[in-house]
Amino acid sequence: MLKENMKTSDFLLSVRDLKVVYTSAGATVHAVNGVSFDIRRGESLGLVGETGAGKTTIAKAILGILPDPPAKILNGEIILEDGDLRNLPEKEMRKVRGKKISMIFQDPMTALNPLLTVGDQIAEVVLLHESVSKKEAMNKAMEMLEMVGIPADRYADFPHQFSGGMKQRVVIAIALACNPQLLLADEPTTALDVTIQAQVMDMISALQKKLNTSMLLITHDLGVVAESCDNVAVIYAGEIVEYASKENLFLDPAHPYTLGLFGSLPSLTGDVDRLTPIPGLPPDPENLPDGCSFHPRCRYAAEECKHGSVPFKEVSPDHFVHCHMCHCEKEV
């Protein structure tokens, strides 16, 4: 649906029309509703949205680790280098997980096993994916520790002996140990304090450039996106509402929701007395509104927004918006 004129092989990862639902006690939660995006080799895409917008679900769907039940992928393709990951048998998928695609988790405090040394946890992923001896895996683990700025002689230390920022470095080392082609970073800095956030983000970006890894960066922090992404997808209620290069999105936001997000940010340059938040709450994913799911909160909403499907418009080259009200030349 998006950028169909381009060949898929230009991209490392193409997600097409992904739909995920959670079912529990008879209720169906529509977590992801037809999401499509592409990531080129070496490129990073920021996935921005509120809590519960379906960001993490997308990442887990790509990695194939959604708990089923209750989660179910209804529809969609997840194409990694010409192959649809959804069609891969579990045995092949195992070779992808941790090797081709790896994930950085949100909370470094709980993402490490408290009873194993950090070195062993890095060596584990190397041992699982590469035919190396235990000693080689250990050496690789020490190398990775050095790479994320932790002295290698802390190999035998346990997670509780590290600070939060260092734990996140270890998690990053685990994620990068097998030189993955795609890194899924699920709010990697949310659990860290602001100064450490900057350090960790800088490091992730630097390593991503160095290893030429593609990255899907999930965050609710537009500042993080500005710092380290090439493209941005704004996601609302399980749908991408705006998709653009970072420059386009920041200079020329088009979707009312994106405008609302920027309106909620304090500015360092301008003098604003009150921020203008987006009124209301995100919709109940069990019971999404008809038409555009943002219309109950949108101040531009018109009658046509309340029913039927919403067009995908290209407001400028490679800048797509999912909205009736944005005026532009062509519809996609």
């Binding site: 680790i65 941790g98 993402a111 194993l116 040394t117 699982l128 035998a156």
Partner: protein, 296 residues
């Protein structure tokens, strides 16, 4: 040059690895309580193993002229209602009691932990079916269940151990399941899935070590309970068969004479207590030594 550097990192690596086990041992050694427990337990084991060589009298030798003898130089722990030397009987009896205590807990914990981790990890129908079976077992009082099993299989030490194993399994299943359910929610398991650990590896390497603490306590307490249960079975004639001695059986035999000859129950009671105490002391120490979060 490169090679040299590599071999250097390697050697520092192996040094680190050795110190890992060493840390555990050092912590255990530092813990006086644990070492005390280990000492008593080793002592009991030696007695059990070399029992026939140590015992001053035969455990069946009766002396009807010296029944209910109080502790003396000839019979340090006194004699029982048939004039048998209590010390010799306790020494020989330690073999049966230790066997019951350890084998039954080993059996029950292995089966219970396996079933419990399966229930906790997979959940759903498997969990429901196994847990309903456990409910059935737990609906019967454990002693009645053990008696029923013993009665069906015939009396004797081995059947007694089997009966105790079966009646102890549900406890282990429940404790393991609860622990695993708790750990199942942790992000490091998701991380382990994301780097592609197999299910077995996740359970064995990432879940069970983290679920171990309550199980160690359950096992050490269980040994004591097993010895007591076995004595109840011996009491009604389903456990160890007389004249073979066994601590629990001796305890219940001496119970009838407790008012006039308290030494008969005292010494067998002390033996059971010492075993349990030493196990608890060692178990606590082990739990602490294995927990990296507790600094030594």
């Amino acid at each position: 040059m490169n090679l040299q550097k590599e071999s250097k990192t390697l050697s520092s690596q192996t040094a680190n690895r050795q110190s890992m086990t060493a840390i555990m041992l050092r912590r255990l050694k530092k813990n006086k309580t644990a070492m005390g427990g280990l000492f008593i337990l080793t002592f009991m084991m030696v007695i059990a193993i070399f029992g026939p060589l140590i015992a001053p009298y035969s455990y069946t030798e009766t002396d009807l002229f010296h029944t209910f003898g109080l502790p003396s130089l000839l019979h340090p722990f006194g004699t029982d209602e048939l004039g048998r030397d209590i010390m010799s009987r306790l020494i020989i009896g330690s073999r049966a009691s230790m066997k019951i205590g350890f084998l039954s807990m080993a059996g029950a914990s292995v089966v219970g932990i396996m079933l419990g981790s399966i229930c906790g990890y997979f959940g759903g129908k498997v969990d429901a079916v196994i847990m309903r079976f456990m409910d059935v077992f737990q609906a019967l009082p454990p002693l009645i269940l053990a008696i029923a099993i013993c009665a069906a299989l015939g009396p004797g030490l081995n059947n007694c151990i089997l009966a105790i194993i079966i009646s102890n399994i549900p406890g282990f299943v429940r404790i393991t399941r609860a622990s695993v359910l708790n750990i199942r929610r942790m992000e490091y398991l998701e991380a382990a899935t994301a780097i592609n650990c197999s299910t077995t590896r996740i359970i064995v390497k990432h879940i069970l070590p983290n679920a171990l603490s309550p199980l160690i306590v359950q096992i050490t307490m269980g040994v004591a309970n097993a010895i007591i249960s076995a004595s109840a079975m011996s009491f009604i004639g389903l456990g160890v068969q007389p004249p073979n001695p066994e601590w629990g059986a001796m305890l219940s035999a001496g119970r009838s004479y407790i008012r006039n000859y308290p030494h008969m129950v005292t010494f067998s009671g002390i033996m059971i207590m010492l075993t349990v105490l030493s196990l608890n002391m060692l178990g606590d120490g082990l739990r602490d030594a294995l927990d990296p979060k507790l600094k030594s």
